[in-house]
């Protein structure tokens, strides 16, 4: 069994990869173009989950659980990263009135 059974027809792995790619690009573009720090964090989560999707898809195709384990690990790390990111954001908001990340450009050369 090498495909995903959905309504009798096997869904090819490449579909998942395409979806993951789309998600990843969406996330990337979001990080690049949005200025709201919260949205940027959400977009980073999107990119991570795109990667997770890829991992899981390959894991299923190759009949190997390591990929899924890896996805779980990645989620844990993503949660930790989100915590740290949010904490930084909270701290910045507490001290300064920041509307978007472009206001945080004091370290420019």
């Amino acid at each position: 069994m090498s495909g995903f059974d959905a309504g009798g027809s096997q869904l090819d792995t490449s579909w998942f990869l395409v979806l993951a790619a789309v998600l990843f690009i969406l996330g990337t573009v979001g990080v690049l173009v949005r200025r709201n720090p919260l949205v940027i964090l959400i977009c980073i989560e999107l990119m991570l989950n795109a990667a997770n999707l890829t991992l899981v898809a390959f894991s299923r195709q190759l009949q190997n659980l390591e990929g899924q384990l890896f996805a779980l690990m990645s989620m844990t790390v993503a949660a930790a990263e989100a915590v740290v990111g949010l904490a930084i954001l909270v701290d910045i908001f507490r001290h300064r009135d920041v509307e978007d990340v472009d206001d945080l450009s004091e370290l420019r050369g």
């Binding site: 990337t28 690049l32 173009v33 940027i40 990340v101 945080l104 370290l107 420019r108 050369g109």
Partner: protein, 643 residues
């Protein structure tokens, strides 16, 4: 104790004294400095006397200092009659002078007092090393160390600008000589592959006038030996303040008077004479360099004596007189009358140290005033000093029976009677004229300072004699200067010849004898010089005769400017060097070296500045670069996998 241990002990006493005083001196009570400072010199004197009475001799190697292939430098001490003779002068006269300094330097505070005696002991150690060394390497070490201690002592009052400048000048001049010495030693090593005296001298074929006639000598002489002899002469000239490296000695009078007496009259400046005497196997073969020694000595003797006529600073008169008298010694060793030169070295050490210390007493009594024009009439107020000074003066003039008569006239006689040598006769003429001028300037100095009426500008109305610690050494030297000449009365043609006999084993016997004509010339010189001594009284005290300077004012100016030597050196060397340095500063230092250093900094700054423009501070820019990088990497990987 064995001779080798005693020989080492001569060196160790002053070294130990210097180390003790340098390390703890200023924290210990002053009395320790007073005892240790001169005490170690006297201890060396006693050891030297022991060697002297034991007739010790030998070449003692203590250890090998450097061993590299055929280059072998042992630490060896050469004890022969010449080195014992020199050690006796250094520690004997030196002991008296250092004792005198105990009183003279008493005004100094504790640390300075200890520092002074530290330097003095370092000097005595260095000078003893110089004369005891048995090889060229340690000779040069001693040679450089005496120059260093001379530098320390000239600049002893370092808060005086003139003293510091004088010290620097002396050091630079001496280093020129050191370089000459070192190059000379190199030439000798390259030629003979030996660093010890015995190793070099044993390879030389002695060549006296009898053995090989003048024409043959030219072919026998190796050019390298002449070269080495000339280079060693450069060292001797610099150390002994002979023309043309003489300008440091008058300035060196900025140092304390005991320093002038010890270093710049009795011992260090005679090192050049010692060198030529010690190297006599070389100079006996290298006839041109040997002739140059005599010429340098004769010219310096006359030249310095003429300048001494117009000096008004009592110490500077003595300084020029020292140069002149050392010129006599060079003249003597230059014509081959070695023992006559060394006899004059001994006698000069007596009477010139006497003159300096007596002058020190006068300066002490006059609140450090050194201008003779401001003295006058001191004879009644400072009788002991005045009479001692008179003994030194007539000894300097060369009046029988004082020591200077016998030594100076022996030199002049030897030059006068040397057979078949026109050079010797020519230098005799110089020496003869110098003797007359010596009579005149010495007379001027003594009459101006001690006779006549007190000068209205005199700083002290009722001066006091110096304390005993300063008077006793002066009196001892005055006695020595009076009776010391009778150890060798060769100038009279008969009597004892103790110095000649003693030094015969080290520097050889003078190969010719003077006759009746020599004795006649001797007395003619003495009488004329003595008349000029008295003539100075007529000019400067009675003022019945017009001073010579009124007749030839341009000569007075020429002499007062010291023949423009300082100005000449300033124009030739100092200005040239200054100019080169300025050009280097403007065209090399500033554009090239500074340019490279500053340029490197500016390049880094500009680079950093332009690179910092990429740091916009906008988060999305960084992400964009990051993503672009990731994309590039991904494409590269894909291309690779695809191919």
């Amino acid at each position: 104790m064995s001779t080798s241990q005693l020989a080492l002990l001569i060196l160790l006493f002053p070294a130990a004294g210097a180390i003790l005083l340098a390390g703890r001196g200023w924290r210990l009570p002053r009395i320790v400095t007073k005892i240790v400072g001169p005490g170690v010199v006297w201890a060396s004197f006693v050891v030297t006397l022991t060697l002297f009475f034991n007739s010790a001799s030998g070449d003692f190697t203590y250890w090998t200092w450097i061993q590299s292939g055929s280059f072998n430098v042992p630490f060896n001490i050469l004890i022969d009659n010449l080195s014992i003779f020199m050690c006796l002068v250094i520690t004997g006269v030196g002991g008296l002078i250092v004792t005198y300094a105990v009183g003279y330097m008493d005004k100094e505070d504790g640390p300075s007092y200890a520092r002074f005696f530290t330097y003095m002991d370092i000097f005595v150690f260095s000078m003893l090393l110089l004369v005891l060394a048995g090889n060229f390497v340690f000779l040069i070490v001693g040679w450089a160390l005496v120059g260093l201690s001379s530098y320390f002592l000239i600049g002893f009052w370092y808060h005086r600008r003139s003293a510091v400048l004088a010290a620097r000048k002396a050091f630079v001049m001496n280093v020129i000589g050191d370089v000459g010495m070192i190059l000379g030693a190199f030439v000798l090593f390259v030629t003979y592959h030996a660093t010890t005296y015995s190793g070099v001298f044993s390879q030389l074929t002695p060549c006296t006038a009898q053995l090989c006639p003048a024409v043959l000598r030219i072919f026998r002489d190796t050019p390298s030996l002449e070269l080495a002899a000339f280079l060693l002469l450069v060292g001797a000239i610099a150390k002994s303040a002979q023309i043309p490296l003489h300008t440091w000695l008058p300035d060196a009078m900025e140092g304390p008077t005991p320093v002038s007496a010890l270093i710049h009259a009795a011992t260090m400046v005679t090192a050049g004479v010692y060198l030529v005497g010690r190297m006599h196997p070389i100079y006996d073969v290298a006839v041109y360099a040997h002739g140059a020694v005599a010429i340098v000595g004769a010219v310096t003797a006359l030249f310095a004596a003429t300048i001494a006529i117009v000096q008004t600073d009592i110490k500077r008169v003595l300084a020029y007189s020292t140069m002149s008298q050392i010129g006599y010694m060079f003249l003597a060793v230059g014509v081959g009358a070695y023992s006559a030169g060394f006899f004059h070295l001994l006698s000069h050490a007596f009477f010139k140290a006497l003159l300096f210390m007596a002058a020190g007493n006068v300066i002490h009594a006059m609140n450090d005033e050194q201008d003779m024009r401001k003295y006058g009439g001191l004879l009644k107020q400072l009788p002991r000093t005045s009479w001692s000074f008179l003994i030194g003066s007539v000894s300097l003039v060369g009046v029988i029976p004082f020591v200077g008569f016998f030594s100076k006239e022996q030199i002049l006689g030897a030059a006068f009677s040397k057979p078949d040598d026109s050079l010797a006769l020519a230098v005799w003429v110089f020496g003869f004229i110098t003797a007359l001028i010596t009579g005149f300037y010495t007379g001027r100095m003594w009459w101006m300072s001690f006779a006549g009426k007190p000068s209205p500008e005199r700083p002290v109305e009722h001066p006091h004699e110096a304390p005993p610690v300063m008077l006793i050494p002066v009196v001892i030297l005055a006695i020595l200067a009076t009776i010391g000449g009778f150890i060798q009365t060769r100038a009279l043609g008969f009597g004892p010849q103790l110095v000649d006999d003693f030094l015969k084993s080290a520097v050889g016997k003078q190969p010719w004898e003077g006759g009746v004509s020599e004795v006649i010339a001797t007395f003619a010189t003495m009488i004329l010089a003595a008349l000029l001594f008295l003539g100075a009284y007529r000019i400067y005290i009675q003022q019945v005769w017009k001073p010579w300077s009124a007749i030839v004012p341009w000569a007075q100016r020429l002499l007062e400017r010291k023949y423009y030597f300082d100005e000449l050196y300033d124009a030739i060397f100092v200005r040239t060097m200054d100019g080169i340095a300025q050009v280097g500063l403007r065209y090399i230092e500033e554009p090239v070296i500074d340019g490279a250093v500053v340029g490197a900094g500016e390049l880094a700054e500009a680079g950093a500045h332009s690179l910092s423009l990429t740091q916009t501070g906008y988060f999305r820019n960084y992400v964009l670069v990051f993503v672009a990088g990731a994309v590039v990497v991904a494409i590269l990987v894909l291309v690779r996998v695809g191919s």
